[in-house]
Amino acid sequence: MAGYILRRILEVIPTVLLVLTLVFFALRIMPGDPAVAALGEFAAPEAIEAFRDKLGLNKPLYVQYFSFIGQALTADFGRSMNNNTSVNALLAQALPHTIVLGLTATAIGIVVGIPFGAMTAVHRNGKLDGFGRIFALIGFSLPEFYFGVLLIIVFSLHLDWFPMLGAGKGFVDQAHHLVLPAITLGVVMAAFVMRLTRSSLLEVLRRDYVRTARGKGVPEHWVIFKHALRNALIPVTTGLGIYLLTTLSGTITVELVFSRPGLGTMLISGVSARDYTVVQAGLVVFAFFVVCVNLLTDLLCAAIDPRIALR
């Protein structure tokens, strides 16, 4: 097990380098001169030259590349091109909002999705299963940002139960602001987790070892929740990892819907303002999340399924 964990962590290193390289080159083909974008089309040539110098855009590509890798690895992203604030400070403001939103949504997805999915599998073709089918169909088809808009129209505009925009101040207010965006992402995730749990559990319930458990006189709810569900959770965990990433990228649109000042909002405003350093930092941080989630998923799977670590 320890060997597996170590091996899996070591595997992250080339992935991180590859991702950083990808981000670097993606941004080099960004159209337009970032200096012109930052200073305006009518800026003096000397000013533009000085700007390029300061950001190191005049240096050879490989020098830029290594300094970028260095920056990314030491988590020092320089200053915003547009207003000269430290990108790290911007990140520090934005990150908590995104992380809290992502985690809350994931919690909703898991807490609703797994039991709901398990129940639909146990009472297969029953009323609950039919309801789950419809719920899933809607969840798969409704884009999360549109779902957010609908929630705003109903719960903010008409019922006035929840605030519409921003992230709020203080714990209670922030929690109040979190409800709708978290539900938006969480419900969509729950639909996915539910279907995955259902099909995975149905598969497992047909296995011989489930019969063995019944043959030992294990009570039916234990058969399902101990013997079957633990096995069913192996594919669910993998799927959850993938879906966690979808939820993560979903925070981008949902933050925009609810005007939450998170990482997604920062990234998108960076893109539209052509603020090169901000975009760079945003993408690196998102990529970092992706690598971390993939790693965690694999480790979690190994913890549930004793066969993985030995492969």
Partner: protein
């Protein structure tokens, strides 16, 4: 009172292609500490019978639609779930066909054996684990302490089957049902497992029902034999009687297909034809299309089960 009395048991399978009478009016009984073999080709309903004894048949599609199963005087068919759970793994335990799939891959072997002990004897975690190790030792596993901590995928097929047997015996059941316990194993391992069952029968005095398609397996392991064909009981006899004087043409066919050391013929005989598809059973005796002694009555009416002496019952018009 017998330990087990099965009376006109009927199990039906409700499939897309129609109704299948998987077990059709099978009756037999077993005294405590005795052993019984159920023999037949695959698809004859013997596994379904075995699973029905513990009400483990997959419902749907299968369902017990008639008859009774009396265990220690109590009807298993009519039991509520709680009573049934108290019986399973405690009074009646089962050994399954394929040891590669009968153990849960995410729990250690020890945990899985200890689970029955904890459920039925309400032992603590540690006591149950010790019992598991003891059981593993009983079934002849070397280094039982280490094996108890291993996951199923770390063990060979033979070791897993021993673990399954240990699990079945953990609560000293009165009845052990073994459903083709050696079919999925290598020949040398098969012999070892059969030897183990023989020893356990002698040492523990557990009643055993052994289900197999291989008559050679049961000759010195069981006291009585039930032969099934297409869901019907066709012959029921003491084991010596069955080998010495088989009554039903099907039983004779089965015996001829058993290889023996003093075989004069060089070729193994098999029964001509195959078992008819379950949803297209012939009228009358179900064996009639394959029977060498077929008469007109065989195609019209089902033969009754008659006592032919020597403790043998058989269902054949030639004997009636």
């Amino acid at each position: 009172m017998s330990l087990l009395e099965v009376d006109r048991l009927q199990v039906h399978l409700f499939t897309n292609r129609g109704l299948v009478r998987a077990v059709d009016g099978v009756s037999f009984s077993l005294e405590a500490g005795r052993s019984l073999g159920i023999v037949g080709e695959s698809g004859c309903g013997k596994t379904m019978t075995a699973l029905a004894l513990m009400r483990l048949i997959p419902t749907p599609p299968a369902q017990i639609v008639g008859g009774s199963i009396r265990f220690d005087g109590e009807d298993v068919v009519a039991m509520d779930d709680a009573r049934l759970r108290a019986l399973r793994g405690n009074q009646i335990a089962m050994i399954y066909q394929d040891p590669m799939t009968t153990l849960n891959p995410v729990f250690t072997v020890g945990e899985q054996i200890a689970e029955s002990v904890r459920l039925h004897r309400h032992d603590g975690r540690h006591a149950a684990f010790l019992r598991a190790v003891e059981m593993l030792k009983l079934v002849g596993i070397p280094d039982p302490d280490r094996v108890a901590r291993a996951y199923p995928h770390q063990l060979s097929g033979g070791m897993r089957q021993r673990a399954v047997i240990a699990m079945a015996l953990a609560c000293d059941p009165k009845l052990l049902i073994a459903d083709e316990p050696t079919t999925a194993l290598d020949v040398t391992i098969q012999a070892q497992i059969l030897e183990l069952l023989r020893r356990l029968r002698d040492d523990l005095g557990t009643g055993i029902i052994l289900i197999t398609h291989d008559l050679g397996v049961i000759a010195d392991l069981v006291d009585e034999v039930v032969v099934m064909y297409a869901g019907k009981l066709v012959e029921h006899a003491p084991v010596r009687q069955l080998f010495a004087a088989p009554q039903h043409p099907y039983t004779r066919g089965l015996l001829r297909s058993v290889p023996s050391l003093d075989m004069r013929e060089h070729r193994l005989r098999t029964i001509d034809g195959t078992v008819p598809p379950a949803h297209a059973m012939p009228e009358g005796c179900r064996f009639n299309p394959r029977c060498a002694l077929v008469m007109d009555v065989c195609r019209e009416k089902e033969p009754p089960l008659v006592d032919v002496g020597g403790g043998t019952r058989a269902a054949c018009w030639a004997l009636a």
